[in-house]
């Protein structure tokens, strides 16, 4: 990420997708695949339409002695440009369904669990203590820091205590609103240890901007260290 930002300092990169932050989650790749696919399809459509429009504007500009064509439509053409976009859009929908289901509907069983509570303007994070269970007395509460192990399925019980917030980790391709009065399950599995930003993505009041936490993804050894440091 650092190298990337240095690269961009020169000016700005015109290839839109090069701005996408590095993906470090197991399912992020599937999201990025769809993102790129739609990018290529829409870019092609944009180029075709723009080229045709500019060409028509030049070729069919008003000139002396030439009258416009008197035509009201063309059924074959109109059917074509109805059916082709419809087929492409439905294909994109069906390709999206399985990824969406995997991320938001059919979560794999938890290997690690945390509870994150959004409140104006911090994330309260509850980690399981040495007993490995969440919701017991030895839970470790830390503000704005989520500590999770690498390569494990992490379940986040997402809550909010006042207004709606949104749990956004750009590098994980995770986003989910936290709603007061609800407990919403978010899951991810991270493949690369490191420190990742966790901004709030839903307007939550005057302190919304800067409501920022960090997700620390630990190797097993580092995770043990984290547990020891936070006991008692």
């Amino acid at each position: 990420m650092l190298a990337k930002s240095e690269f961009h300092e020169e000016g700005f990169e015109l290839a839109m997708m090069s701005w996408l932050p590095e993906n470090v989650s197991t399912y992020g790749g599937q999201i990025d695949y769809l993102f790129y696919l739609i990018y290529y399809i829409t870019a092609a459509a944009l180029i075709i339409v723009t080229v045709l429009m500019v060409a028509f504007l030049i070729v069919y500009r008003q000139r002396a002695g030439r009258k416009a064509v008197y035509i009201h439509g063309n059924t074959a053409l109109e059917v074509t440009w109805t059916v082709v976009p419809a087929v492409i859009l439905l294909l994109l929908s069906f390709m999206s369904i399985s990824t969406w289901g995997e991320i938001k509907i059919y979560a794999p069983p938890a290997e690690y669990e945390v509870r994150v509570v959004g409140k104006q303007f911090n994330w309260d994070v509850f980690h399981p203590g040495p007993d490995g269970k969440l919701g017991t007395k030895d839970d470790i509460k830390i503000e704005n820091e989520v500590h999770v192990p690498v390569d494990k399925v992490v379940h986040v019980q997402l809550q909010a205590s006042d207004v709606i917030h949104s749990f956004f980790v750009p590098n994980f391709r995770v986003k989910q609103d936290a709603v007061p009065g609800r407990n919403i399950l978010v899951w991810f599995e991270v493949t690369k240890p490191g420190k990742y930003e966790l901004p709030c993505a839903e307007l939550c009041g005057f302190g919304h901007s800067g409501m920022l936490g960090w997700v620390f993804v630990h190797t097993p050894e580092d995770y043990e260290k984290f547990l020891k440091e936070n006991q008692g």
Partner: protein
């Protein structure tokens, strides 16, 4: 014909009211009410645009003194520095004003009023008094909205979407009467829109001139007719939700608060109104664009019926796509799948319209007038805005781009892009509205500046969104991963300033042409629709005698006809031979 019409008018039953108040202020003439809506919208555009400039200043040079704003008292600004809550007010009010007090008054109120009766060959609206009330109730709503800047605590700061519980209780935003007035203003505005829409629907159904069948109506009228139906059905939902929100705030009820109520209920109600609202905004723009492209291509619109049917399809589908604003709201994700499918489907009629516009240009004899340029600008932006919508329709991709600048880029290409159709319509109908032409050289300058800087402002926002830059954040420099976007935010801000400066030629041209523009003839664009058979500007009652309609509105370059246009009310035969 214009002289004949004028003399015929002298003994006509419709008497133009003489007094200043009844002529300019409390007028029941649809054309005056249309002009009033237009002026209201243009005035509010200046306010909404100024708020946008302040937003852009803060994003480019966060927490620095805005030049010339040192006089603003605390706590709104601190020696010209914008504090976070004021920033939230800025974007909330920017969006609210642009949507409800610029696009709706200009496109629906202004052109809806001006065009509907005269394009269908009627003397006025079905209910002229209701029409006048519609404007004045709307003006009261505007006054309430602007007044909300001046109450203690400042204006609404909960976003134009006003999600509960944030807006359900004053403690969460620190804004009390600002949001109450925001709610009241939109509540009042809803009555204005209801009166307008009932009038539009009744007028189109009952007052079409002889021969003006539904499928001989210009697409502008089709679009305004469908828009009126959407307004009639969608706005009461917002009105009811606003009422409940007001009760939550003022009378401590619990409709949308978690203690007994449902925060997501607000979102469902808001977007059930909100998505049809998007089409309420864009359909009239599509309608006027279709008309203008046909006139200046000197060619019938390509696929007229497909254009009308696709607008009807959009109107129906717009009721079952609202959930795509809520994919990540905590709504059941299975519903997300269903809403993704309907959303993908609603893109099809939009694609049909785009291809039909291209088909209209094909084989034409295109006259590069200012209205044509702006209509092309609208199509070009709509294509980008439509295509970027596919990204967020795909639920997995939306997980990443939801609530980022990708969304901001998308809806500005669609909704702010409407301003191109709005300018196209103003340049096109200005001669009919005010009897004078606007200067076309300055119009071209206005177009070039607006088109270039519009794109330089909004296109880079896609890049910000792909980089994960959230919308509605006060200072992007608070985030490590957004530091790289400092330069781009400066670039966007400078482009936005230049976009604003590009509007100066328009303002000067508009005001100058009102008083000193070249006098317009009856039909300066050689167009077919009925308004061009009336004098410029048309008198009270529009037509000397009710026109008889013989054909559709797009008969340009008809073989066997000498000119390349054939007005809807010209009988073919003797009159055609003499050139009318």
């Amino acid at each position: 014909m214009s002289e004949a019409a004028a003399s015929a008018h002298a003994d006509h039953g419709h008497h133009e009211p003489a007094g200043f108040w009844s002529h300019y202020v409390f007028s029941t003439d649809h054309k005056m009410i249309g002009r009033q809506f237009l002026f209201l919208g243009l005035f509010m555009l200046i306010i909404g645009g100024t708020l946008a400039m302040l937003i852009r200043w803060q994003l480019a040079w966060p927490e620095t003194e805005v030049p010339g704003m040192g006089w603003v008292p605390e706590p709104t600004m601190y020696e010209g520095i914008i504090p976070p809550n004021t920033y939230n007010m800025l974007f909330t009010m920017h969006a609210t004003i642009m949507i409800f007090f610029v696009v709706m008054p200009v496109m629906v109120g202004g052109f809806g009023n001006f065009l509907i009766p005269i394009m269908i060959g009627a003397k006025d609206m079905a209910f002229p008094l209701l029409n006048m009330l519609s404007f004045w109730v709307g003006a009261v709503a505007g006054v309430i909205m602007v007044a909300s800047f001046f109450v203690v605590g400042g204006a609404a700061a909960g976003g134009w979407t006003s999600y509960t519980p944030l807006t359900g209780d004053a403690v969460f935003t620190g804004v009390n009467w600002g949001i109450n007035l925001w709610v009241l203003s939109l509540f009042v505005l809803a009555f204005s829109s209801l009166m307008g829409s009932i009038n539009y629907i009744t007028t189109v159904i009952n007052m079409r001139a002889p021969g003006m069948t539904y499928f001989r109506m210009p697409l502008s009228i089709w679009s305004l007719f469908i828009t009126a139906i959407l307004l009639l059905l969608a706005l009461p939902v917002l009105t009811a939700a606003l009422g409940m929100l007001f009760f939550d705030r003022v009378f401590a009820t619990n409709f949308f608060l978690p203690a007994g109520g449902m925060p997501l209920l607000w979102q469902h109600l808001f977007w059930f109104f909100g998505h049809p609202e998007v089409y309420i905004l864009v359909l009239p723009a599509m309608g006027v664009t279709s008309d203008i492209l046909s006139v200046f291509s000197r060619k019938p619109i390509f696929g007229y019926r497909a254009m009308a049917y696709s607008m009807i399809a959009i109107a129906f589908l717009s009721w079952i796509v609202w959930g795509h604003h809520m994919f990540l709201s905590g709504m059941n994700p299975l519903l997300g799948t269903a809403f993704m499918l309907t959303t993908m489907v609603i893109a099809v009629p939009s694609a049909i319209k785009t291809f039909n516009w291209l088909g209209t240009l094909w084989g034409g004899s295109i006259r590069f007038t200012v209205p044509l340029l702006f209509a092309i600008g609208f199509v070009s932006n709509f294509v980008i805005g439509g295509l970027s919508g596919i990204f967020m329709a795909s639920t997995p991709v939306d997980i990443f781009i939801h609530d980022t600048y990708f969304i901001v880029a998308h809806f500005h290409y669609v909704v702010a892009g409407i301003i191109f159709a709005m300018f196209a319509a103003i340049y096109f109908w200005f001669p009919k509205m005010f009897g004078r032409m606007m200067n076309s050289t300055w119009g071209i300058v206005h177009f070039i500046g607006t088109y270039i800087f519009f794109n330089l402002t909004f296109f880079p926002m896609h890049f910000l969104g792909v980089g994960g830059h959230m919308r509605r954040i006060y200072n992007p420099m608070q985030y490590e991963y957004l530091e790289q976007f400092g330069d781009m935010n400066v670039f966007i801000t400078i482009s936005a300033f230049l976009l604003a400066i590009s509007q100066i030629p328009f303002i000067v041209n508009f005001v100058w042409s009102l008083f000193a523009g070249e006098k317009a003839s009856e039909n300066p664009w050689e167009a077919n629709t009925l308004e061009w058979s009336a004098p410029s500007p048309p008198p009270h009652g529009n037509f000397a005698t009710t026109p008889q309609v013989y054909r559709g509105p797009y008969e340009y370059s008809v073989p066997g006809v000498e000119e390349d246009w054939l007005p809807q009310d010209r009988p073919l035969g003797a009159a055609a031979a003499t050139g009318h």
